[in-house]
């Protein structure tokens, strides 16, 4: 990949962040290049969600730098969105009283004009036909899996340079998780740059280009997913086998 010429889509340099008096992330560095699918795995409570929230700006940065296409992020969520970070948050965070369509339209809040919005909407409906069927249904009346799809669709509507996906399998039945990951695989194939956070590395074994293991706020291992799956001791220590 000709990554040497252009700056990476996402670059994290030693970032530190946390809540109240504690630091949850204690110096994380990683890069994501255009078109890559990077995953961060690790036990719960060790900072995976915090990582994505720090990138998108929901959690303030205490130290370090975040760069998108070489441009340094200010940390304010709406400005980060303007620079191309599309965060699909944990638990969906849908607009519960809005319809599916309105949720998607909110995703396109920063879109330049109606034509662009329509174009993106068509793309999303093509990828997620169920959303087209349910477009006027109120978000709070959807099932867990459908809500997850709306969340992803909404993230896609943002256009964006990079898609941050936070634990897409959370709270869903295995069959539904398969469907969700099917969609994610498709959008990765279509060339989207993705940074995904997941508890179970098995799910991303075939999808991810690279994988980082996050433990207690630091990256303890990086490599290809297949390599991790072969290292039983890592699996046992950090991911409970």
């Amino acid at each position: 990949m000709g990554a040497a010429a252009k700056p990476p889509v996402l670059q994290l340099d030693n970032i530190v962040s946390g809540y109240d008096g504690l630091d949850v992330l204690k110096g994380i560095s990683l890069t994501v290049h255009a078109g890559e699918f990077v995953t961060v795995v690790g036990p719960n409570g060790h900072g995976k969600s915090t990582l994505l929230k720090t990138i998108s700006g929901l959690v303030p940065l205490r130290a370090g730098q975040i760069g998108i296409d070489g441009q340094r992020l200010s940390g304010k969520p709406h400005e980060t969105a303007m620079l191309g970070v599309a965060h699909v948050p944990q638990g969906d965070m849908l607009f519960a009283q809005m319809s599916v369509l309105e949720n998607l339209l909110m995703g396109a809040y920063l879109a330049p004009d109606k034509a662009e919005i329509t174009r993106r909407l068509d793309e999303v409906y093509a990828l997620l036909p169920k959303l087209a069927d349910r477009r006027n249904q109120i978000a709070s009346s959807l099932s867990g899996g459908e809500r997850r799809m709306v969340g992803i669709g909404r993230g896609l509507m943002m256009g964006g340079r990079i898609l941050l996906i936070d634990e897409p399998s959370l709270g869903l039945a295995p069959l539904i998780i398969d469907q969700v990951y099917g969609v994610i695989a498709e959008l990765s194939k279509a060339g989207r740059t993705v940074l995904l956070v997941e508890e179970n590395p098995a799910r991303v074994e075939d999808l991810a280009d690279r994988l980082h293991l996050l433990d207690d706020g630091a990256i303890v291992w990086s490599g290809k997913p297949a390599e991790l799956m072969a290292r039983d001791e890592l699996l046992a220590t950090y991911l409970g086998g």
Binding site: D20, G21, P60, L61, R62
Partner: protein, 362 residues
């Protein structure tokens, strides 16, 4: 969530010692006051200020410590005052006999209010209590039916817009003649002191901890075994006793009580006192009273701008000094202590100060 440093024995007595020293100084000042003040007007204003401080300290218990934004404080005050006045007026009781029953009546009233607010939080409590206070005001002011005839004058049951007067007094006029105001001052000062002592005891007790738990993290507190309903009713009841008692003394001192005490501006004054002094601090209400009563006196010159000034002071204090004067002072002391500790290389131990991290990336 806030973290409190574990207290060492010496630290605990340090803050308690500070409070004790301040109390002794205040008591000395209070005793000396009548000898230093010549003007009747000033002494009278001081008595009024003591009433404000008493009410404010109880509202601080409710809002500052327990996080219950009740706007019914003056209604409870008025209830106590009216109950006392009406017992004297209709049954001919002596004022001193009617004071405690009046206070207890206020407690009952407050418990009813507390019951109504039991499952409510934040804003809803404010609105409900405001509505209750407003209803009480309206029912009194629009009361026009003649309940009794006093001579040829028609008197309403609740006293109507005129209120009650000439139902008795504290007895100081008979006893002290010309110096009756000093006598009243002494009585009210004792009332205030008792209120403060009682409040201090409550705040430092397990009950006080339960109240604080209500405010800081209600769900967490419930999970820890604090019965939220009981605690809420308790604080409504406790804060009402001295408020109602103050109401009774107020009626006795001024020998009159009317719906004017229920006015919005009175309530706002109390709120302003607590906010300016420092919400949730022990000395805040007193500091706030001193500052605002002084400011009020100074603004008395400008007459009409008084209320305008008061409103602006409230708004500005909240925006610029959210922790109030006592809070700011505490910050200053904390900062100085830390600096000194850094210089002497000793570990600072502060029990009053809550550990709060530096805000990141703002």
């Amino acid at each position: 969530m806030t973290k409190t440093r574990p207290m060492s024995r010496s630290a605990m007595s340090r803050s308690a010692r500070t409070d004790l020293v301040i109390s002794l100084v205040l008591i000395a000042a209070a005793i000396a006051l009548p000898f230093l003040v010549d003007s009747r007007y000033i002494l009278g204003q001081i008595v009024l200020a003591l009433f404000y401080a008493t009410i404010a300290s109880q509202w601080n218990l409710l809002f500052g410590f327990s996080g219950i934004f009740s706007l019914a404080q003056m209604a409870i005050f008025a209830f106590g005052g009216y109950a006392t006045a009406m017992l004297c007026f209709y049954f001919g009781w002596n004022v001193w006999a009617a004071l405690v029953p009046g206070a207890l009546g206020a407690v009952l009233f407050s418990l009813v209010v507390g019951l109504a607010c039991l499952r409510l939080t934040g804003v809803y409590v404010a609105l409900l209590t405001l509505a209750i206070a407003q209803t009480m005001y309206l029912l009194i002011v629009t009361d026009t039916e003649c309940f009794v005839m006093v001579g040829s004058v028609c008197r309403q049951f609740t006293g109507g817009a005129v209120g009650f007067a000439r139902f008795g007094d504290l007895g100081t006029r008979a006893l002290l003649r010309a110096q009756w105001l000093v006598g009243n001052y002494a009585i009210i000062a004792v009332l205030f002191a008792l209120t403060m002592v009682f409040t201090y005891a409550i705040v430092k007790s397990p009950i006080g901890l339960a109240f604080r738990a209500l405010k800081d993290n209600p769900d967490y507190a419930v999970a820890r075994g604090v019965n939220r309903f009981q605690a809420q009713l308790l604080v409504f009841g406790i804060s009402a006793f001295f408020t109602g008692l103050a109401g009774g003394f107020y009626a006795a001192h001024f020998q009159a009580i009317g719906p004017g005490v229920l006015s919005m501006s009175q309530l706002m004054f109390i709120i302003a006192i607590v906010v300016v002094g420092g919400v949730g601090t022990f000395w805040g209400p007193l500091v706030g009273t001193v500052v605002l009563v002084l400011a009020d006196e100074l603004m008395r010159e400008s007459g009409e701008f008084r209320t305008l000034g008061l409103g602006l002071i409230i708004a500005l204090s909240v925006v610029l000094m959210p922790k109030g004067l006592v809070g700011r002072f505490g910050d200053l002391v904390h900062w100085l202590t830390r600096r000194r500790a850094k210089l002497t290389d000793a570990k600072p131990i502060d029990s009053n100060i809550v550990q709060s991290p530096a805000p990141a990336g703002k």
